[in-house]
């Protein structure tokens, strides 16, 4: 299988390719439009800041490429947020694949720390990336911004408020958490994506 990982100015995009390698898949990390378009699966990873990253994507014309992809695409963390319409992080206009906002966590009480960092459970998991056995399993999150629960929500997590742990629309899948860092549970989710 031909899996491409979108290369851009984010920190740590290689952790996804390492995770795939542990599953026996050798992925290509690339910003080449041609390679991205012809891959069987595309992964859009991300650790970084929304506005800076959007500027970089636009500069390299990757924004239009990503929106136009027809094969299964998996956005991870910032990748997922950039697939939404707009992010409060840097007031960034994003790709608009999922017609929803990305909002900053507002602590409701003192023990609500931001970023939401660590292991939390996923509930109401939908088919596609998930299966029933993954209900209530712990996955790893690191983020200060969140996508509210909406029509595309494919898994929900509660922190300060219920938010989208995963989104799905047509060929576009996304997780707010890091499956590549979520131990054996994350491996199941990545395997499910590879089987789509």
């Amino acid at each position: 299988m031909d899996v491409a990982i979108i290369k851009y100015n984010a920190g740590n995009i290689y952790s996804v390719s390492y995770a795939l390698k542990r599953l026996g898949v050798e992925a290509t990390v690339t910003a080449d439009p041609e390679l991205l378009c012809k891959a069987d699966k595309v992964i859009f990873p991300g650790v970084g800041e929304a506005q800076t990253t959007m500027d970089h994507l636009k500069e390299h014309k990757l924004d239009a490429i990503i929106k136009g992809l027809k094969q299964p695409v998996l956005g991870i963390c910032l990748g997922m947020q950039l697939m939404c319409r707009h992010s409060e992080e840097g007031d960034a206009d994003c790709l608009g694949i999922f017609d929803t906002e990305v909002k900053r966590f507002i602590p409701q009480k003192h023990t609500d720390k931001v970023p939401h960092m660590g292991w939390n459970t996923i509930t109401d998991v939908k088919d596609g990336l998930f299966n029933k056995q993954l209900e209530n399993k712990f996955v790893y999150f690191v983020h200060s911004f969140y996508v509210p629960v909406n029509d595309y929500t494919a898994a929900t997590t509660e922190y300060i408020l219920p938010f989208s742990a995963s989104l799905h629309k047509d060929n576009f899948y996304a997780t707010q958490f890091h499956p590549e860092k979520s131990g054996s549970v994350g491996e199941v989710i990545l395997s499910n994506f590879l089987k789509l």
């Binding site: 390492y18 003192h110 720390k113 931001v114 660590g118 292991w119 983020h143 200060s144 860092k181 979520s182």
Partner: protein
């Protein structure tokens, strides 16, 4: 519900794991990648690798180690030690680290915190603080606890947060290596003052110490080294114990 984290820390010198007793004497404790993988299997939530060699050669060795860790381990890991400028941060994140922990460099140049947060997001920026309790106050130290500064723990932690730190890793030099429990009073004050997660470090000797640092110290994560390295406490057993004590941990 967000789980409390158990974080084994591996001090690395020339590519091998060591552990200091009050930051001075070192005992050998095994191969870092093997050890990390074993911790991950046992249920560690995150790992910290600290490079305690400062030489140029040592740094290259450490970067290679970071790549191996990233390739082999499926839980997050933080790296620290010898990070002085953005170039170092970039190198370690590119090698596969999830977060960087900065200590002396942040004290010397607080703007580094801002730069990391701006370029990679707050969540990759852990500010580590070594502080010692002396004359009724917590004073911050530079260079692995060797050089005292004028900075006070609570003041510096708040400043680091306002500059964009994503987490505070507080090591009590007073408690480190003594195995008599974490600095829960200071940790609790930090938790009350800050709006970012606090990792407790220094003093773990028994399972009760972990319970106390979560329950009394209000820590979000507890870091320990020797009790895990020398098999005095098994991570699986520890997490089972914590669950029974009413602490929410990932099992």
């Amino acid at each position: 519900m967000l789980a409390k984290r158990i974080v084994p820390c591996l001090d690395i010198k020339d590519g091998k794991t060591v552990k200091g007793i009050n930051f001075v004497n070192f005992r050998d404790a095994g191969d870092p990648v093997e050890l990390g993988a074993q911790y991950s299997r046992e249920g560690a939530d995150e790992l910290v690798y600290l490079d305690i060699t400062a030489s140029h050669e040592g740094r290259k060795t450490f970067t290679e180690l970071v790549k191996k860790v990233a390739a082999n381990i499926s839980i997050p890991f933080t790296v620290g030690g010898g990070i002085n400028e953005m170039k170092d941060v970039d190198r370690l994140l590119s090698a596969g680290a999830d977060k960087v922990s900065i200590n002396s460099a942040a004290l010397r140049n607080p703007k580094l915190i801002e730069e990391i947060a701006k370029n990679f997001g707050s969540q990759v920026c852990v500010v580590a603080i070594d502080a010692n309790f002396e004359n009724g106050d917590w004073l911050c130290y530079l260079n692995g606890g060797r050089i005292p500064t004028e900075k006070h723990l609570f003041q510096w932690a708040a400043e680091a947060e306002s500059l964009g730190a994503g987490e505070i890793l507080f090591t009590s030099m007073t408690h480190d290596g003594v195995k008599d429990g974490y600095a829960n009073e200071a940790l609790s004050t930090l938790a009350d003052n800050l709006h970012i997660p606090v990792i407790a470090s220094g003093g773990a000797g028994k399972m009760e110490h972990f319970r106390d640092t979560f329950a009394l110290g209000k820590a979000d994560a507890a870091l320990a080294a020797s009790v895990f390295h020398f098999g005095e406490i098994g991570i699986g057993t520890l997490k089972q114990y914590l669950r029974e004590e009413g602490i929410n941990v990932r099992l």
